[in-house]
């Protein structure tokens, strides 16, 4: 058989068919090659990213907020991780027994959880924030679908209400909202970082790919505050506020040499660890943000102005009889008509008439300059939020009666912090150093305000004021020489002075031979009968000063003998 001539093979196909086939096959290849080029070359980045997202993860690196310590390193504020429970309402399946257990764990009424999940109509809802990690673990064990947790930080304050106003607090996002927490937010805050890693099937991190942002831990802050003096000041202030049924109170302790704030407390206060039901009155950092008419505590500045001008010496006699002075339609009164008093005695007995007469002999500008240079009317620039600058009107608008009342601290308003700072002028031979909330290690350059001679003279007068012939014998401390001045002022209400509402204050320093500490105490509206600064505020000063001097290791500069107090009814009453 001859296959070569098989009729089947005779069948000749047209050439175009094989060509078409070849074309189809090769175009198929061309498509594949094109696709390969597209995937490998042009579309590579997208695919690479997709691939990476299958195993790569970006994880957050949390950063702690810095700790706040006192000057000796005692912890005052520490951040520690807590959990927040949140839910996606559409996915939540909550059986009644589960709800009951969840409610018990979170210490919330079951009804509240239910309303939160069902009635908000949002995609994301917090059930409860800032719960302890142990509780969160037990919530996780309930395995409720649609319920999630995430990590947050919560700030704890071991000092509680004692330090509340100085430290302030942070909000839910660990951001400072009050006090030092707000003032030093940038210093304290940590910057969370993130990094890209490769995770395996078990969720373990097997490789570090890159660091996207390095985490930055918040820096610790060492305050000037001394926790021991602070708690002493707080407890003594609290005892006095309770005893005299005062509406509020404040105390400031300053180190004269460095300008450091060693203690600062206010009442009423609050517990920063539990801030449910806070009122505005509790939150107010009165010593810094509130101003008051200081009353007689301002007299030393008037006297210092007069001494500086050379118009008077401490022994110059001033006629204060008959114990009242009428200027225009207003009359200034003394508690007792004293007759002729030396300038020294005007401070010692706190005579309004005497101070007013001296003030009227001075140019208004020089008094205004004195108030300005000791810091009245200017923000103390301590860094606290809402620091008050007080009110000192420009001297050009002063009328004689105003100048006279300002001499004894009316018609002018200052904060307790300003008052304490201003007194450091007398304690430091006429110099002042700027205030500081943080610990000061290097000495700071003082600024001269008055001459050392004037400062020493006023210091002597202030020492007389706390001795038995003065208005504040209760400010004395055994073993130390103390100097200071009482203040009792009528409170202003709706533009007029309220008859039976007083602000009692005392500002002083010790030891007089080489002053170290200034303490200013203020009680607002004492209503338990006594309201003189010498009876209400001075004892607080004495107890706090005594403890603070002992705690700072200041050697006594006076013999250890019992304090002399004037007999009952013999006390020198201050003029208001």
């Amino acid at each position: 058989m001859n296959f070569a001539t098989s009729p089947v093979l005779e069948l000749t196909l047209p050439v175009w068919r094989s060509r078409l086939l070849a074309l189809v096959i090769f175009s198929g290849f061309a498509v594949l090659v094109g696709r390969a080029v597209y995937l490998q070359g042009l579309h590579n980045d997208f695919l690479r990213a997709k691939g990476e997202s299958r195993y790569g993860r970006v994880i957050e690196i949390s950063a702690n907020r810095g700790r706040i310590t006192d000057r000796h390193g005692e912890m005052l504020a520490v951040s520690t991780p807590v959990k927040s429970i949140w839910a996606i309402p559409d996915e939540v399946k909550l059986e009644p027994p589960q709800l009951a257990r969840l409610a018990a764990l979170l210490e919330m009424p079951p009804q509240e959880i239910r309303t939160r999940i069902e009635e908000t109509g949002r995609d994301f809802v917090f059930i409860k924030r800032q719960i302890p990690p142990e509780v969160a673990d037990r919530v996780a064990e309930l395995r409720i679908p649609g319920l999630f947790q995430n990590r947050e930080y919560r700030r704890y304050y071991p000092g509680g209400e004692v330090m509340a106003h100085v430290l302030g607090f942070t909000g839910a996002e660990d951001v400072g909202q009050e006090g030092v927490e707000l003032a030093f937010q940038d210093h304290l805050k940590g910057k969370p970082g993130s990094r890209r890693v490769i995770r395996d099937r078990l969720g373990q991190i097997v490789e570090d790919v890159e660091s996207i942002r390095a985490a930055q831990e918040g820096k610790d802050l060492s305050l000037a505050l001394d926790a021991r003096i602070q708690s002493l000041a707080f407890s003594q202030l609290k005892a006095a506020v309770d005893q005299h049924r005062a509406k509020a109170g404040g105390i400031v302790v300053l180190d004269i040499n460095t300008g450091e704030v060693l203690a600062l407390a206010n009442l009423p206060t609050y517990n920063p660890n539990n801030r449910a039901r806070l009122s505005g009155a509790q939150l107010r950092n009165r010593a810094v943000t509130d101003t008051f008419e200081p009353g007689s505590t301002l007299k030393p500045f008037t006297i210092a102005t007069a001494l500086e001008s050379g118009r008077v010496t401490p022994q110059t006699l001033i006629q204060t009889a008959p114990g009242s002075l009428t200027i225009g339609s207003a009359t200034i009164r003394d508690a007792h008509a004293e007759g002729m008093l030396t300038v020294e005695q005007i401070i010692q007995k706190s005579s309004n008439v005497g101070a007013a007469k001296i003030a009227l002999s001075l140019p208004a500008e020089s008094m205004w300059n004195m108030f300005q240079s000791v810091g009245f009317g200017a923000v103390p620039r301590l860094g606290f939020p809402g620091e008050a600058n007080g009110r000192v009107r420009p001297y050009k608008s002063w009328r004689p009666i105003e100048q006279a009342t300002m001499a004894y601290g009316h018609g002018i308003s200052v904060s307790l912090l300003q008052l304490a700072h201003a007194y450091s002028v007398f304690a430091r031979d006429g110099e002042m150093v700027p205030l500081s909330l943080t610990r000061v290690d290097a000495p700071r350059t003082p600024q001269a305000v008055i001459s050392a001679e004037t400062a020493r003279r006023v210091r002597h007068m202030l020492e007389l004021a706390v001795q038995s012939g003065g208005t504040a014998p209760r400010a004395q401390i055994m073993g130390y020489r103390v100097a200071g001045k009482t203040g009792t002022a009528h409170k202003q209400e709706n533009g007029t002075y309220a008859t039976h509402k007083y602000v009692s204050s005392f500002v002083g320093f010790a030891p007089v031979s080489s002053p170290r500490l200034v303490i200013a105490v203020m009680l607002d509206e004492p209503t338990n009968g006594q309201y003189y600064g010498g009876a209400v505020a001075a004892p607080v000063f004495a107890r706090v000063m005594e403890g603070a001097l002992r705690l700072t290791g200041v050697p006594p500069d006076a013999p250890m003998k019992p304090i002399e107090l004037p007999a009952e009814g013999q006390e020198v009453k201050e003029s208001i």
Partner: protein
């Protein structure tokens, strides 16, 4: 020629396997490192919490309360305080 190729192939396979094992080992070690770092973090947190606890126990108000109530301590009266002058201390140091 064929033998050389086979030898090279065997060498290549061995190298490839070596790479795989060392990669695996590296990852295992890295997992361990991660775990240790995690532990360090949690210890750091615990340290913070303990500091907090120590701070709470050492609060002055609490110490004072215990000193006065439970231990019946009080600050000595003025009569019983004797102040030692600083001079004696300086002399003591000089000797």
């Amino acid at each position: 020629m064929v033998r050389l190729n086979l030898l090279l192939l065997a060498l290549l396979t061995a190298c490839a396997l070596g790479l795989v094992t060392s990669q695996h080992k590296a990852r295992k070690l890295f997992v361990e490192l991660e775990q240790e770092q995690e532990r360090a973090r949690s210890l750091e947190i615990e340290y913070g919490q303990l500091q907090l606890e120590a701070g709470t126990w050492a609060m002055h108000t609490r110490v004072e309360r215990i000193a006065t109530r439970a231990l019946h301590m009080h600050t000595p009266e003025a009569k019983r305080i004797q102040v030692v002058p600083r001079r004696a201390q300086a002399q003591g140091a000089a000797q």
